[in-house]
């Protein structure tokens, strides 16, 4: 089959394989996230030229080398503005951002907030391991209060950032949480996020087996539950906010029954105009398809005569 017959070629997760050694630690949650991403892209039937992924800097960002796509491995904390620039010159591309908790909710928090409020059409995947992986285990903005790390030997003093709450407060139209230990559920959430028009957040609890000895696969597995199985409808922003708040005050030593972690879609609102919808200059497709000749500025010059 080919596109010439008007049919789309079948895309499989293996189409995104790259033959390079993957150097994440054995057992790292990033492997499952990578598989889920490839499966989601294949299920959505997205060919390589139809989307691009922008990565931040961190262990998550090294995924740029582990998947065969059009990618931009941007600066620490700056994946969102880089992706936004791309989105604003090429409206035909689906755009995905992969970021870490230090990357996106620490250094990049300002961009996160502004990207949410502009409802730019980007699917944002947060690799939230509640620790800095690449820089060897310092506390991250999502580390639970009291967590001892090399940069916080007597325990984190601040409350953790609540990415879902921040996104909801800024008017996000798709807010979800996944757990890296459940590839099927995560794949579904990725697909929903990528298909959503507008800013779509999927914050993923992604255990770092090397530096976060507390929030392990086991720790999460004992606590996570799925909202779809809990008779929850993601259509009420206030309820979504309360739900998002519910885990902020979890302490690492809280027993599993007292620290339940919801996953799934917290909130979804369709039909809200995206930032791109409001930019009439994008109506004619990608910029590189236009402007091969100098632009005629004689009309504008007249304003200065």
């Amino acid at each position: 089959m080919s596109e010439r017959d008007g049919t789309r070629p079948t895309i499989t997760p293996n189409d995104f394989d790259i033959f390079r050694p993957l150097n994440w630690c054995p057992g790292c949650g990033n492997y499952q996230m990578l598989s889920a991403m490839k499966a989601a892209l294949a299920d959505l039937g997205l060919a390589q030229h139809e989307f691009a992924i922008v990565f931040g800097i961190g262990q998550h960002g090294n995924g740029a080398d582990f998947i065969k796509v059009q990618a931009f491995h941007a600066l620490h904390g700056r994946a969102l503005p880089t992706a936004t620039g791309l989105a604003l010159v090429n409206p035909d591309l689906r755009i995905i951002v992969q970021s870490g908790d230090g990357d996106g909710y620490g250094l990049g928090m300002g961009h996160f907030v502004h990207s949410v409020r502009r409802n730019i059409d980007i699917a944002y995947i947060g690799h939230n391991n509640q620790i800095y992986g690449l820089t060897t285990g310092q506390a991250s903005p999502t580390s639970n209060q009291g967590m001892k790390t090399p940069s916080t030997p007597s325990g984190v003093l601040e409350e953790p950032v609540n990415p879902l709450g921040v996104a909801l407060a800024e008017g996000a139209t798709f807010v979800a949480r996944a757990f890296a230990g459940d590839v099927g559920h995560m794949t579904w959430l990725f697909k929903e996020a990528i298909s959503h028009r507008g800013f779509a957040l999927v914050d993923v609890f992604q255990p770092c087996v090397t530096f976060n000895k507390i929030n392990t696969f086991k720790w999460y597995r004992e606590r996570v539950y799925k909202l779809e199985e809990a008779d929850y409808e993601p259509d009420d922003r206030t309820r979504a906010f309360e739900l998002a708040e519910s885990i902020v005050h979890i302490h690492n030593e809280d027993p599993p029954e007292a620290s339940r972690i919801p996953t799934g879609i917290f909130y979804r609102q369709e039909g809200v105009p995206t930032y791109q919808d409001g930019v009439p200059q994008l109506a004619d497709g990608p910029l590189w398809k236009r402007a091969r000749e100098p632009r005629d500025v004689t009309g504008v010059l007249r304003a200065f005569a």
Partner: protein, 623 residues
Amino acid sequence: MATTAPPYGREVRIKVAGPAGAGIKASGETLARSFAKAGLNVFDLTEYPSLIKGGHNVYVLRVSADPITSHVDPVDVLVALDQLTVELNASELVDGGALVYDPDDVTLDTLDARLRERICPVPVRLTQIVKDAGGKPIMRNVAALGAVIGHLDFPLRFLSESLHTQFARKAPEIAEQNVAVAAAGHDAAREAGCAFPGRVEPLPDAPEKLLVDGNESVGLGALAAGIGFYAAYPMTPASPLLHFMARYGADAGVVVKHTEDEIAAMNMVVGAAFGGGRTMCASAGGGFALMVEAFGLAGVSESAVVVGVFSRTAPGTGLPTWTEQADLRYVMHAAPGEFPRVILSPGDMTDCFELAWKAFNLADRLQTPVVLLSEQYLQESHASVEPFDVAAVTIDRGKLIPEGDVSRHDGALGCEGRYLRYKLTEDGVSWRALPGVRGASQVVNSYEHDEYGHAEEGAQMRALQEEKRMKKLDLARTLVPPPAYFGPEEADVSVVLFGATKLPVLEARDWLEASGVAVNVMQVVTLWPFPTDEVRAFLGAARRSLVVEGNYSGQLEGLIRQHALLEVDEHLRRYDGRPFSPEQVFGKVLAMVGRGPEEAAAPAPEERTAVQVGEPSGKGADR
């Protein structure tokens, strides 16, 4: 023997000053446009503190039938919109100069008796005129402009036209009301009967001129080059370029984004370049400080971006609305590591237009950031210039594969037939494919990388990629605009400069020539890669050499020493926030040739004999 005083040409200098927030800059522009519409040459300079209310704003306009290139110091007509102006500026008037003021709220009694004798008062009841016309208090300025025009015996119709242009977007009644106010001011000034020796006449068959500032000129150049994306965060003196883009660019299809900060602006521009758009951001030095991180990203990722750095004075927040040329070394070395960059430095409005469009071609040809380094003086001053040569604009996107299937583009492929974004090439530039194009799987990377774009730490590949990128400087040398030269081949003094210092120096050069001193000038247009050979040749042939630059430490002079291994004889530097005045350069060069005092003193107020600016029409006062 020539004098040691500047031989000013046929010209009139008008200064309008008053409280901040009174719309002095906008009304000054209206005045400038009126003279430009009559074919005359104008140059203006706005001095204003970084305040919206409660400061002293000054607008200086120079009008001449002869070519002029900058502002000058003496004042022929002073419009005092408040008492403070009288105290601060009246002494700058030339002998016989006119002082336009409203006798209802400004008094000349506070002036020194000798000064009062030297000048010619033109009382015009500005507030009353506005009241009589049923206008708003802000229209006082327009009454004052009318008075200036009336006093100079210049036809009112040009001011009326200019007011119509200014208020075109508002209701026509507002324009009419303004014209009525201007007419009343015009008549009142004529009644005041002050006989100033200057008269301004329109030029017959005036050639069409543009009245533009540096920001507008850069904006026009970028538009002509087909810019697709402009991102910025407001900062003086680059904010007007954001406004220009939002107003004219958006109509022309440019996506314009006022971002959350300069960090986002620069990263967006890099992302937009990845997407294939021609992209630009601009700020002052302080905003560029935030952009530096992503400026380095543009370097390592080989992104074709244009960055405007429009300098103001001093570090930190500095003097936000004043000028300096101290960001040269900073821009040259900004960002960690090393990577090729091009730094272009416009010296006037025409340079702004040309270098802007050329910057986009260079960025695309070299796939590396190109900086337009300018300064507040140029970005915010207006001049009447020949219409820009839009026919000369060309688009060269370099090694870009915008469409088709990358896998069929041999030059871009590795031995296994896979696209190599960072393929090692002779000239250092690899074929660039865009996301959205088939087969273009690639990583554009902020990490050092291999030919595919994958992160790579191997010593050999690191060195090869560094060498690949740096080779672009050799290519750049063959593509960048060469230095510009002014004046005779043989000269008494040879001046090297960059940026808008060109404006006062060229003015002074003409005066020096008229005084019998031959001066030639080398304007370093491309500051990086540094034109070592050209500087050597120029200075090697110099009898006496002088570097004029607006910073404390002599950054350009240092580059000459470092690259051309040459010492210059003398330098003239300024770092008080003000642009060089041509008088200052004139005095310095005279001193170098043993014809004047060592330090150019502020020139004494001139004694004006009658000047006729423009051609006499033979008709009487024409309203």
